[in-house]
Symmetry: C2
Subunit: 204 residues, 2 copies
DNA sequence: CCTGATACGGTACGCCCAGTACCTTGAGGA
DNA sequence: TCCTCAAGGTACTGGGCGTACCGTATCAGG
């Protein structure tokens, strides 16, 4: 009746796919080991043989669907680039895919090892690199002072966007907020860093 | 043996105290209803008669210990005020008290009602008000341009600090980072917003 | 083709915890 | 005093994580 007993990579694929589907359908909280096993047409043993804990499976399932595409933009202006990158990030986090990631982050609060992995995905590596190159290009064009190229400054819009997520309940920040972040915060900050700027109150 | 059967407010106090102690001892995940009941010298019924769910008890216990002190600072300069407020926030979030709050936030990801309450505590109301008055004073002193008085701008240092928490595993951000946030981001931003600033590249 | 080793499948556990039901017992008010 | 209501005690359902055990299919090697 069955097409034979699956083993190794094939079974692993099936489990990951099932876990990913469960994540999408019920969120991380609803991703039960039994349900994953049933959906994958196997049982919990096969899962626990590969991942020691539910959280580990969750992370694996997330990485399975997360195509680690490095965001790239080049609109020709700092403003355009920043806005585009923000929009991409906003779209990503607003998708069900982003919801899963947020659930996972919340649920893994007591699993240091998993937090590490997730943190990377959530905006550690590739993303901050994108902001760096973006700023670098702006400097080359003379749009930004070299002093502005600095980790905390470069990726500030993403930080503010995350803050916006924290304030509102759920993502999907309206586009005008993204524009505001760029025009009222990022660009003025870059400008402000360009000034040798005598303090307005040179007291002291 | 016992001092008699406790009722009403007295019992409620005891439960809240016990729940708070459990939170401190084992985090939210370890705050079991049975354990709270046992520690309070009562049983789960008395708890469920007052709070319908575990999460509700968690929030109540948190609010029980959280003395909602409104932070106030006035060092005489924008830089000093901002730094002081950041230091206070950092101290708060680094304390076990802050750890409980973070646990709670993570655990309540699927309880919209609780999220609301927590969000308020986490920096919604009183805190952003403090940043507003701080900036207002700076404007009055001529240290900052009036255009800078804007929600997202005013509380930006807190947003960046939260971002720092997200990147590192656990709070307790070193003091020099707080200084950097103020000197490299907040102050330059305020400065930059003061300029009518012709765009460096007026293309278009 | 036969024989192991390995891993899959099935099932049944143990444990813990949330939340509920039911009854007994004490305390305070009328 | 008696009555009511809440507190205490205990047991139970339901469900989820993680484990154990055992039969069985697949694969590798001779």
């Amino acid at each position: 009746m069955t097409v034979g007993r699956r083993r190794g990579a094939e079974l692993e694929e099936a489990i990951l796919r099932a876990a990913a589907e469960e994540l999408r359908a019920s969120g991380y909280a609803g991703m039960t080991m039994d349900k994953v096993a049933r959906r994958a047409g196997t049982n919990k043993n096969a899962i626990y043989r590969r991942w020691p804990q539910r959280a580990a499976l969750g992370v694996a399932a997330y990485k399975y669907v997360a195509d680690a595409r490095t965001p790239t933009v080049d609109t020709g202006s700092l403003r355009g680039d920043a806005l585009e990158l923000l929009r991409q990030a906003n779209a990503t986090w607003s998708s069900p895919h982003g919801a899963v990631l947020r659930d996972l982050l919340a649920a893994a609060a007591d699993e240091p090892a998993l937090l590490e992995l997730l943190r990377e995905q959530a905006g550690g590596g590739a993303l901050s690199a994108a902001w760096f190159t973006l700023l670098g290009r702006a400097v080359a064009r003379g749009e930004a002072p070299p002093e502005a190229v600095q980790p905390r400054v470069a990726a500030l819009p993403m930080t503010v966007l995350r803050g916006e997520y924290a304030l509102r309940g759920v993502p999907a920040v309206p586009d005008e907020v993204l524009v505001e972040i760029v025009d009222e915060i990022y660009l003025p900050l870059i400008r402000g860093r360009g000034l040798p700027c005598p303090k307005p109150q040179p007291a002291g």
